[in-house]
Symmetry: C2
Subunit: 188 residues, 2 copies
């Protein structure tokens, strides 16, 4: 399978079109840190990445990854839940990445939940500048994942197309039920 | 709306990742010629584009567009239906573009039909080389369009994921029923 056709590779492929050096962005779910690194490299040393995770070990590993790639200086690692974004970020942002579910290789019982993800997303939508983009990867395959995916999609379906363009990148054949799906919100 | 988030702009955005100079590709539905021009520029003077349309005026306008852009030499304009692709093309191709429905600005009663599109697609799938990509834009908004979209998606859903990765780019909010949708098939 071509990696960038997958939901995860697709995020970077799409966001590259929107990100410029010097911008302020958010990684709402640090996890293994690959999205944080991608954002840090995209905005460069003159930019700023706010990066949230509730798991200390995720932040520690990400710190090492960023140091190795000379990107730590432009990242603000925050040990808190992403439903508190607006307590930490008070300026317009160009992009926000959500990679939901559990930490790969970590405790699979610690998962993002639809209610808190939605709270976070609504704050993120307020913070997003015009022309900005929010991406979400949702995983319907694990316990609780389907519920989160349904709640999010129900909410996104209701958004006014005058302000929000919401698009979805999803699998058509094979195991559609378990395949991750990519959602993005573009603000007019 | 950001133009490349639309199904039409999205085709070029995605296919740019797959096309290299010197390759052989197919535009199965010339229409206004914008996809033909895109393909001709992507494969360059050392490449070859087979371009099909059943409407002579579509081919005439496209010929002028290609001449203006110094791309006519690498395009083989064919006045025939795309369900006869395999009569004209006998070598492996890297990409095929379908932009279904009717000719913009033309006779809206001359539309592509699910049955012939499917015949063409199956021939195209045989011709496609490993690692190649087929893109389809379907328009459920016009009479007959929904039927064609349903037929195609039903067929694509049944394809083996060991050979084919089929993905869809679709609108989540606003007028989802009428919005065009982008489908792509990647061959392993």
């Amino acid at each position: 399978m071509n990696s960038f056709l997958k939901a995860t590779g697709f995020t970077h492929f799409l966001l590259e079109k929107f990100l410029r050096s010097g911008e302020i962005v958010i990684d709402a779910t640090v996890g293994n840190g690959y999205d944080t690194l991608f954002l840090a490299q995209a905005v460069g040393a003159s930019g700023l990445v706010y990066a949230f995770d509730i798991q200390e070990n995720a932040l520690q590993k990400t710190k090492i990854l960023l140091e190795k790639n000379n990107c730590l200086q432009q990242v603000n690692l925050i040990h808190d839940g992403h439903e508190k974004i607006s307590q930490y970020v008070r300026e317009p942002v160009a992009a926000i990445i959500y990679n939901l579910g559990y930490l790969p290789g970590g405790n699979k019982e610690i998962i993002t939940k639809g209610e808190t993800t939605l709270l976070s997303l609504q704050q993120g939508m307020e913070l997003l500048r015009s022309g900005g983009i929010i991406s979400l990867i949702v995983y319907p395959g694990h316990p609780g994942g389907k519920k989160e995916a349904d709640l999010l999609e129900q909410y996104l379906t209701s958004l006014s197309p005058r302000i929000w363009q919401v698009m979805k990148w999803s699998r058509v054949n094979g195991d559609r039920v378990k395949a991750p799906c990519f959602l993005c919100l573009h603000k007019s």
